[in-house]
């Protein structure tokens, strides 16, 4: 499918069973090309967060493997960053906005370089004027921008996003989606998004992997051939957009494939 593109991330026959015995992920294989935007969609509670945590090395797979740039992932690799769904739980309330963004850079960069990286990351998400504030003084959408800036400042090859826009209102959500697309275009970061929102996945992605209800398997891989740059109104009213979202909706409702 994606042979011509340089493969950055390769997830092969991943299985994850909790210590309780529950099988969360049965068999998931997927790949992400360098510079690509890939989404994983599935119904709520289908183990998407578990999948993402396993991919980034926070959890060990029961079997199968995750390879990043040809190296087996056994612990969080320095080329990878993760944005969590709940900014209020992932940001540090005792640090200022700038302090939060500088957090992952403490050992990576010298102080002068660090300050520059923080400024650049905050400017990239439109929060240059809020460096001295505390996250809890900002709106939800702005807090998620801080979390995104923190991940971007880390300068990852690939950014994993775990339902990053699920806790904000619809307008803010559209803003953050476009911000993500802009960051990807400007900085060339590869994106892997997990979401239960089909429209969002279609709008943002080059390819979408559709997951079954748990234990998860990949139901289908869908190439999104929509023209770029994407624009909220134009893209979402495109007949092909509607066709793709209906197709994926239909797949999610379907029973799991038999092997």
């Amino acid at each position: 499918m994606n042979g011509s593109v340089d493969r950055l991330l390769d997830v092969a026959r991943l299985q994850k069973r909790y210590s309780s015995g529950t099988l969360a992920i049965e068999d998931v294989s997927l790949d992400v090309g360098r510079g690509e935007f890939v989404s994983i969609v599935g119904p709520s509670g289908c183990g998407k967060t578990t999948l993402l945590k396993t991919i980034c090395g926070l959890l060990r797979p029961t079997s199968g493997s995750v390879t990043l740039d040809g190296k087996l992932v056994t612990a969080p690799p320095p080329e990878m960053a993760l944005v969590f769904q709940d900014y209020a739980r992932s940001l540090f309330p005792w640090l200022t906005v700038a302090g939060n963004v500088a957090f992952p850079l403490k050992r990576k960069l010298a102080p002068a370089m660090r300050a520059r990286a923080v400024d650049a990351a905050l400017a990239a998400v439109g929060l240059a004027d809020f460096a001295a504030r505390y996250p809890w003084q900002l709106s939800g959408g702005m807090q998620q921008r801080v979390a995104i800036a923190r991940a971007v400042a880390f300068a990852p090859e690939i950014l994993l996003l775990d339902e990053p826009f699920a806790s904000v209102d619809a307008l803010t959500r559209a803003d953050l989606e476009d911000l993500t697309l802009k960051l990807r275009a400007d900085l060339g970061i590869t994106m892997l998004l997990v979401t239960h929102d089909i429209d969002e996945a279609v709008y943002l992605s080059d390819r979408v992997f559709v997951l079954s209800p748990p234990p998860s398997v990949v139901v289908r891989e869908v190439a999104i051939g929509l023209p770029k740059p994407r624009e909220q109104e134009r893209t979402r009213s495109d007949a092909r957009f509607l066709g793709l979202r209906n197709e994926i909706h239909h797949m999610i409702g379907q029973p799991r494939p038999v092997n």
């Binding site: 945590k53 980034c56 926070l58 612990a75 969080p76 320095p78 990878m80 960053a81 993760l82 969590f84 709940d86 739980r89 992932s90 540090f92 309330p93 005792w94 957090f103 992952p104 403490k106 050992r107 505390y134 809890w136 003084q137 880390f154």
Partner: protein
């Protein structure tokens, strides 16, 4: 502002009642508040403050500092490692249930009645609330914050210092506050049992020699010191935990 006014008025009324009752009864054991006040000024605006109050405060601060240091460090470490917490929790609950005054005889037996004994019992009394609350604070660290540190390649020691410890601070301060009031109680009790100076000794000595206004004056001084210590503590807490209160106010 209005509440503060009412609060002061209440104190003034109570003092007037004390004065009136004392004058009416003419009892040796209940001198008028005006007599107590005169004695207080005479006794404490004098070198006596250095002789009696300063030793008490110094012992208390050393004992409290020891308790704060060990309680916070050990508490946060225990709370940061759930398997360790499960092992030591029953022991901690048992030790903290001992009224600290009960170990005074043990301390006297082991190290005599000197300053060491007083510092030990103060530290022992203040240690448990600080330790247990610090452990609870560290246990309350949010999973996503630890995961964030791991994703960004922050090592376990740095994570403990920069994520778990700040997360535990609200618990640490809850413990420090309880510990401070226990330390204050323990200094008075320990000085009443075996001492030749200090406020606890002074109050007991005044009572035994029928220096009743002096006895009340000593208690008033304790009240003032306790109030001041607590106010100072709250001021520090408000500063250090500004982020915590700010965040809670928004939530």
């Amino acid at each position: 502002m209005k509440r503060t006014g009412l609060g002061i008025a209440t104190v003034v009324v109570l003092l007037l009642v004390w004065e009136a009752v004392a004058r009416a009864k003419q009892s040796l054991y209940l001198p008028p508040v005006s007599t107590v006040a005169v004695t207080f000024v005479h006794e404490w605006f004098s070198p006596q403050f250095v002789a009696e109050a300063v030793p008490s405060l110094v012992r208390m601060f050393i004992g409290y500092l020891v308790a704060a240091l060990f309680g916070t460090v050990i508490g946060v470490l225990i709370g940061a490692y759930p398997p360790l917490y499960r092992v030591v929790d029953p022991l901690l609950q048992f030790l903290r249930a001992i009224p600290p005054t009960a170990i005074i005889p043990v301390a006297i037996l082991l190290i005599g009645i000197g300053d060491g004994m007083k510092i030990l019992v103060i530290a022992f009394g203040a240690l448990w609330p600080i330790l247990v609350n610090s452990a609870d604070g560290a246990r309350a660290v949010i999973r996503e914050r630890l995961d964030t540190a791991r994703v960004f390649g922050i090592g376990p020691v740095a994570t403990l210092l920069t994520v778990t410890f700040p997360s535990a601070l609200p618990g640490v301060f809850a413990g420090l506050r309880t510990g401070l009031s226990i330390a204050f109680i323990m200094i008075v009790v320990s000085e009443m049992i075996g001492s030749t100076n200090g406020l606890g000794y002074y109050i007991l000595q005044a009572q035994r020699t029928f220096a009743i206004p002096e006895m009340y004056g000593g208690i008033v001084l304790l009240a003032i010191l306790g109030y001041g210590l607590n106010a100072g503590f709250v001021a520090v807490e408000r500063r250090v935990l500004a982020w915590h209160y700010g965040q809670s106010a928004r939530a």
